[in-house]
Symmetry: C2
Subunit: 242 residues, 2 copies
């Protein structure tokens, strides 16, 4: 079963202080790249898997989406999402993405930001999403990059010649326990190939893959981000239900 | 311009002693995985990009291919390929894959094993291959995995807790100079995303992606290969011209 770390008090407090929690979508450095993959949202029925505080759900409505459903396993996040949304076309529901049942052929876009790497049964969810999308519907998501999740000792190391990312266990898929905002956060490591083959196997066509790193402009503004180009932190994928 | 290191005397001598040069396809540990991606070859017109000693060209004919064209930039390799092939349906031609012009819609399968990571103008070649394939034609290839080519100091490092692969420069695409069989071998590092997006942009549908590592059976036979699962050495991709 997928861990619900977002309802842990210490984790939630820490997460709530991150730029992406305070500033919303623009506080996430990968947002411009993810946004660039989105279709025109006007009139679309949108599903947000792991909606958190509801930033994307509200954005989708601002862009003209007809209806938005945000799902999240964290009651604390849903409470804030509901408190900050006054729009009857945006609904929030509690759901464990590992076991949620979605209705058939009802959404035009399924979106997910940094949630899928927590799921134990991603295969099930992807098949579920394929059924929940209308033909030609899009699935666009970000996840922690497999290079970020793989190592047994994730963290930059000083080596002769400069910092390195100590890669190991890349092909060894499964749980990784790290201390991020709280001790004992469990993520599920999967390779890029597994993400892609899961999508293809569920009937998706791969439209675009991005291994995200900061742009020169972002590095100029945040020089400490430069090292992220040595090991991309995020994987972005856009796919279409065939 | 792409370096033609295979015609370097020292490199050629070293390459000729590798298991894959002595034993042929079965001397390459990734061959079973690559073979599993191939379609039925009976009656097919096959193009081998970087055919080397011609092992795959002869294999394709054994499997019933109607005609096979092997291209390589190395005259030394082509000389041996021709000497070891007595089959009028297999042709070998000298070609620099970075600038070769292929005829339109003539092949059912384009195949390439461990050649594309040498090419400077891969975008051009991929567009070329898309045109050279019949509609529904397949493009199946292996290349050195981007994790293998990325680092400034490629090679396992001892660290507290075990061996690590010192990753850096992953998003920094371009030439990498290494000493493998001969000094100063130039490869072109590209990310997985770039391989995939090049294919998609040229009109290919991605069918399967494999980040190859040794199987448990292979590790039982060659325990020293186990470490390759920490950082996959090969990337295998199967695509179809839409």
């Amino acid at each position: 079963m997928t861990q619900n770390i977002y309802d842990d008090d210490a984790f939630f407090a820490g997460y709530s202080r991150l730029p992406r929690s305070v500033e919303g979508l623009d506080g996430a450095p990968e947002w411009p790249a993810l946004r660039a993959l989105l279709p025109d949202l006007r009139g679309k029925r949108v599903l947000d898997l792991g909606c958190g505080f509801g930033w994307f759900c509200r954005f989708a409505r601002e862009q003209g989406a007809a209806a938005v459903l945000g799902l999240d396993v964290s009651d604390k996040m849903l409470a804030r999402a509901r408190a900050e949304t006054s729009d009857p076309a945006v609904q929030y529901e509690h759901a464990d993405l590992d076991s949620v049942a979605l209705p058939d052929e009802i959404f035009d876009l399924a979106y997910s930001a940094l949630a899928l790497h927590y799921l134990v049964h991603l295969d099930r969810l992807v098949a579920n999403i394929a059924r929940a999308l209308t033909p030609g519907g899009r699935f666009i998501f970000s996840a922690e990059h497999p290079l970020f999740t793989a190592p047994s000792r994730p963290g930059w190391m000083e080596a002769a010649g400069g910092k390195i990312w100590p890669l190991d266990r890349y092909l060894d898929e499964g749980p990784r326990v790290t201390d991020w905002l709280a001790p004992g956060v469990v993520k599920q490591h999967r390779t890029i190939a597994t993400y892609l083959n899961l999508l293809i196997g569920a009937g998706f066509r791969i439209d675009h893959v991005e291994e995200w790193g900061p742009t020169p402009e972002q590095i100029a503004a945040h020089p400490e981000w430069a090292v992220e180009r040595d090991r991309p932190p995020f994987l972005l994928i856009a796919a279409t239900r065939a």
